[in-house]
């Protein structure tokens, strides 16, 4: 145990050098030619920033789809001249209606038609239906709902990405989590208000005429104005939807002294818009975004240029935001924030300062205690401890682990616990020295006998750290990583490096008296 071959010493030195190589850049302010640029990644709780977890709410999307499907089915039945009664949608899930028994086969055929009921994949179709006596019940199949959800998720992810990109945020992380969640990490953001507004807007844009005074109450919806002060009767019939927008830019309206958003339409949109405006001069066209009437200008002329302006008493920022969300397109389904953690940069810096302060104090306290207890061997233990710190931080930098505030606590805890290995070894050697007169053998036995204990004891803590890593989230994960890496580096520094020191010391004494 006390013999180290040259090769071994070489590898021990190499390990420490590699550790140093990755450790040092953390303290360099300017990039150097010798060292890599990589620094340890600071968690959002240390560098400041926002963590947002969004959930896609698919229910409105399912409702929309079933409404459209119901409309198509009804149209089809009518065109086939089949009698039906009591056509309704239950719970936004099931379309049901009654037919005459003799039409059963026709309906079945119609509902198996690929125009109405397309294939989702090899085994599944879009709809599943049951005909009980004369009652027809139609549902979306689970596979189809799954696909809607999946598509919505993919689209949302893309749209959220492009919206955040437009804001020019520094290194955002935007990833899907599970089937219906999107995780966003925005380092360095002081106030996530604007980002939240931009990702929280579905931005479903539509143009619809206001209903005439004599209109049937079934033909319009009553919608709030943006300010929620007014209510508008908006026709259900859609003139044009936001899909046909090709561009949207913020602008300024000098006459009304307010910000506006100018938009351009694609060919189809322009034609449809021209046609609709030409035939409805004098009526008010409502611009509806997410079920709120932003404005409802009166049509004075046919709009044929394929472009237009949305004014709604916007501030400059509101107009900018609206332009961004309209450009990126509407989210297929509304999203809500189900978890948010935001830390301001000043608090982050304070946490770093306090973390480093307590690390230094803890470290000094431990070093003094060890020196008092083990004197010369204590120096070796303390050097190992210092190297352990270097290796730990170096490894964290190398594997690009995120250092969080609990992570710093983990490092300090590791300092305390790394000493454990030294204590175990030295106490064991003390005992061995009582029985064994030959110092070399006593030291050798000490190291040999303590190894299993050392491994058993550290593996149990490692188990805790690994479980924590897989189950914990965010800052806790950071803690788990430092704890796990710390256990491994401390085993190396105490059992291998520390032993090398002790071995050279013992050999230099050539069997003389050693007091611990």
């Amino acid at each position: 145990m006390l013999h180290f071959s040259r090769l071994k010493i070489f590898f021990i030195s190499l390990t420490i050098l590699i550790g140093l190589f990755f450790f040092i850049p953390n303290f360099l302010n300017t990039p150097s030619k010798i060292f890599p640029e990589k620094k340890v990644v600071l968690g959002l709780d240390l560098q400041g920033g926002s963590y947002l977890l969004l959930e896609v709410d698919s229910k409105p999307l399912f409702k929309e789809k079933i409404d459209t499907k119901a409309f198509d089915i009804r149209k089809k039945i009518r065109s086939e001249r089949i009698n039906y009664t009591n056509f309704k949608i239950n719970n936004s899930q099931t379309i049901s209606f009654q037919i005459n028994l003799e039409n059963k086969n026709e309906i079945e055929k119609l509902l198996n038609n690929k125009d109405i009921n397309s294939r989702v994949d090899e085994t599944n179709k879009e709809l599943q239906f049951v005909i009980n006596d004369n009652i027809v019940n139609i549902n979306f199949s689970a596979a189809y709902l799954q696909r809607i959800k999946k598509n919505a998720m993919e689209q949302s992810l893309e749209i959220i990405r492009s919206r955040i990109d437009e804001l020019g945020t520094r290194e955002p992380t935007i990833i899907a989590q599970g089937e219906e969640r999107i995780l966003i990490e925005l380092p360095g953001i002081k106030n996530p208000k604007r980002i939240k507004e931009i990702i929280g807007t579905t931005a479903k844009l539509s143009f619809k005429f206001l209903a005439n005074n004599d209109a049937n109450s079934n033909s319009f919806d009553i919608l709030d104005s943006k300010s929620r002060l007014e209510k508008f009767n908006v026709e259900k019939t859609l003139v044009l939807s936001g899909e046909h927008l090709t561009d949207a830019q913020p602008g300024f309206d000098n006459i009304n002294n307010s910000s506006v958003v100018n938009f351009k339409l694609d060919n189809f949109g322009a034609k449809k818009f021209a046609y609709a405006t030409k035939n409805n001069i004098g009526r008010r066209l409502a611009i509806v975004i997410d079920n709120q009437v932003v404005s409802a200008p009166t049509i004075r002329d046919a709009i044929t240029a394929g472009s237009g302006q949305i004014s709604g008493g916007f501030s400059v920022e509101e107009a900018n935001n609206l332009a961004i969300v309209l450009r990126s397109g509407a989210l297929p389904a509304p999203m809500s924030i189900i978890e948010e953690r935001t830390v301001g940069p000043d608090l982050g810096q304070e946490s770093i300062d306090k973390g480093i302060m307590s690390l230094i104090i803890g470290f000094v306290l431990v070093i003094i205690y060890i020196l008092i207890n083990y004197r010369i061997l204590g120096i070796f233990a303390n050097i190992s401890l210092l190297v352990n710190l270097i290796l730990l931080l170096g490894t964290l930098t190398l594997i690009e682990a995120t250092l969080t505030l609990p992570g710093i606590a983990g490092i300090i805890l590791t300092v305390g616990m790394a000493v454990d290995a030294n204590v175990l070894i030295y106490e064991r050697i003390k005992e061995e020295l009582l029985i064994e007169k030959n110092i070399m053998i006593a030291f050798d036995n000490g190291y040999k006998r303590v190894l299993t204990t050392l491994l058993d004891a550290n593996i149990t803590t490692l188990i805790a750290a690994i479980v924590l890593y897989f189950i914990g989230s965010g800052p806790v994960k950071g803690f788990a990583v430092t704890l796990a890496v710390g256990i491994i580096t401390s085993l190396f520094t105490t059992f291998i490096l520390g032993r090398l020191f002790v071995a050279s010391y013992v050999k230099s004494k050539k069997g003389g008296v050693i007091k611990i």
């Binding site: 977890l53 189900i338 978890e339 609990p406 616990m417 204590v423 803590t461 188990i463």
Partner: protein, 302 residues
């Protein structure tokens, strides 16, 4: 001061008394746990936490009253570190993107102060349920894995003994949190797992020594043998606990408010863990009456 190298301290002589003590502590923990419950943080309860900073000294009562007007459900406001910084915790959470900005605007308006929201955490009900579940799973899975590891490496008596000692530590820690009322959040789960690891570490060192002595000696009284083992490992047990405590005390006093509950849990855990290794885990081997004939095993064990 007594000498930790004196090998004759009768730790096991009074083990029944210590069991009684631990039993009482566990009962107290349970009573507090079921009557007071834990002061669950938003991680597990859902809700919103805002750490806010004022330009000058301010009063928590004013902030609280202003927040109550906003109908945010149950509102708690307390000083956080100094009298310019406060922690506001309230029940309401919202998926709407303008929720927090609105709270801020209204609060600044009603207090006529500029306020720096240094930290905002909002946890929705779904997430808090998931976090609770994963927290419980984490502790259970870690316990089971350790049980399994110790069972692989030792006899079943050791495995059972160490797990009982761990449960003892976890219960007393939960009890302490319930009595003192420190906020119980995700980082406390991390702390509990670390305690579990640490206490296991402590127990393993003592058990290892008991096993070693059992192999050397199959004649002397089991109680004496365990007692000697505890004595032999005592210097290590105490010194390691002291160094770990030194490091933890540094975090507790200098690490800032956010780490206070976390470092408290660890400090408490190290003390309880050290106690349980000596006074709970070791005597359990006596109670379980571990086998004395270790001749076969000697060859197999590394």
């Amino acid at each position: 001061m007594f000498n930790i190298y004196n090998k004759n301290i009768s730790f096991l002589k009074f083990y029944k008394q210590f069991y009684l003590l631990s039993f009482l502590l566990i009962v107290i923990s349970f009573i507090s746990f079921f009557s007071n419950g834990l002061n669950l943080g938003i991680d597990f309860k859902g809700g919103t936490v805002i750490e806010m900073q004022f330009d000058k000294k301010y009063s928590a009562t004013n902030i609280r009253e202003a927040l109550i007007q906003q109908e945010l459900g149950d509102v708690k406001v307390k000083e956080f570190g100094n009298s310019q910084t406060f922690l506001a915790i309230f029940e309401k959470k919202s998926g709407k993107s303008d929720f927090i900005p609105n709270v801020k605007t209204q609060l600044e308006k009603s207090l006529t102060e500029t306020i720096n929201f240094r930290r905002v955490e909002m946890v929705g009900p779904k997430i808090s349920k998931e976090l609770t579940k994963s927290g419980i799973y984490a502790v259970l899975i870690a316990l089971i894995l350790m049980l399994f590891y110790i069972w692989l490496r030792f006899e079943w008596q050791f495995s059972l003994g160490s797990i009982l000692a761990l449960l003892h530590d976890v219960i007393l820690t939960l009890g302490a949190f319930s009595i003192i009322g420190f906020e119980f959040n995700l980082s406390i789960i991390a702390a509990i797992l670390t305690i579990v690891g640490y206490s296991m570490n402590d127990t393993v060192v003592i058990y290892d020594r008991i096993r070693e002595n059992l192999k050397k000696d199959d004649k002397s009284d089991l109680l004496d043998l365990i007692n000697i083992s505890v004595n032999e490992t005592l210097p290590r047990t105490l010194k390691t606990s002291i160094t770990t405590l030194l490091a933890l005390i540094a975090i507790y006093f200098f690490g800032g408010e956010i780490l206070r509950g976390f470092s408290f849990a660890l400090i408490w855990g190290v003390i309880v863990g050290t106690y349980s290794s000596i006074f709970i885990a070791a005597p359990l081997i006596l109670i379980f009456n571990v086998k004395r004939d270790w001749n076969e095993v000697i060859d197999k064990t590394p």
